[in-house]
């Protein structure tokens, strides 16, 4: 596709519900990042994939958060038993390679999650 696509754009969940957020990166991009952005803050790193391998998940706040990229393309971020503190915008970014001069991150529009 032309850019990084995220769905849904908005998600309202009741506390305790499970949610799944989808990211469709730019075709052929090796690296994929998930970030959490609270209101008025910078994006906070959650996890990083290089192709299908999850190389870093140190930013996931708890074991309720799980991410996968089984075929090295589309990725899903799943949050189980959502809590109010999970309310934020979840951003996905992809980049062409893992390093060097082509690791510019292209961000999707994000999914705004509101947990009631």
């Amino acid at each position: 596709g032309a850019g990084v696509s995220q769905s849904p754009r908005y998600k309202v969940a009741k506390r305790g519900q499970d949610v799944a957020l989808r990211c469709d990166p730019i075709s052929g991009h090796v690296s994929l990042f998930w970030y959490q952005q609270a209101l008025g803050q910078g994006p906070e790193f959650l996890t990083y994939f290089q192709n299908e391998a999850q190389l870093d998940k140190s930013g996931l706040p708890s074991d309720r958060f799980f991410a996968e990229r089984p075929e090295g393309s589309v990725s899903t971020l799943k949050i189980q038993r959502t809590q109010q503190e999970d309310s934020a915008v979840y951003l996905c970014a992809s980049s062409e390679t893992a390093g060097g001069m082509r690791n510019i991150q292209y961000f999707g529009a994000g999914t705004r999650l509101s947990v009631l």
């Binding site: 990042f33 001069m101 961000f107």
Partner: protein, 109 residues
């Protein structure tokens, strides 16, 4: 852990005035990137700095990377209303980027 601090948090300027935002890291960075996020939008890449002491210019924007690769700055000359938004630096660590908290720029016409 590694942190990237960014100041100021907010800056209000009159159109035509200059603007600068500063980024400081607790550790040496392999590179640093700058992004702009318009209200309601997503971060958009502006530039990447890699070399110690590097200076890059994009029209009215000047980006610097410190000699020790721990700090960086973005300077906008003669701001315009189209410069409104939040500017983030992002320092590259191993397998991840550390974003600053951003500087929100408001430009009064």
């Amino acid at each position: 852990g590694q942190q990237v601090m960014q100041i100021p948090q907010y800056q209000h300027v009159q159109e035509g005035e200059d603007f600068t935002t500063y980024c400081n890291s607790s550790t040496t960075l392999s590179n640093i990137q700058w992004y702009k996020q318009r209200p309601g939008g997503h971060p958009v890449f502006l530039i990447q700095l890699v070399k110690s002491g590097e200076v890059k210019k994009q029209k009215r924007l000047t980006f610097q990377f410190g000699e020790a690769k721990k700090n960086s700055s973005l300077h906008i000359t003669a701001t315009q209303t189209t410069d409104v938004g939040t500017y983030f630096c992002a320092g590259r660590g191993f397998n991840k980027f550390y974003f600053g908290s951003g500087t929100k720029l408001n430009v009064k016409p």
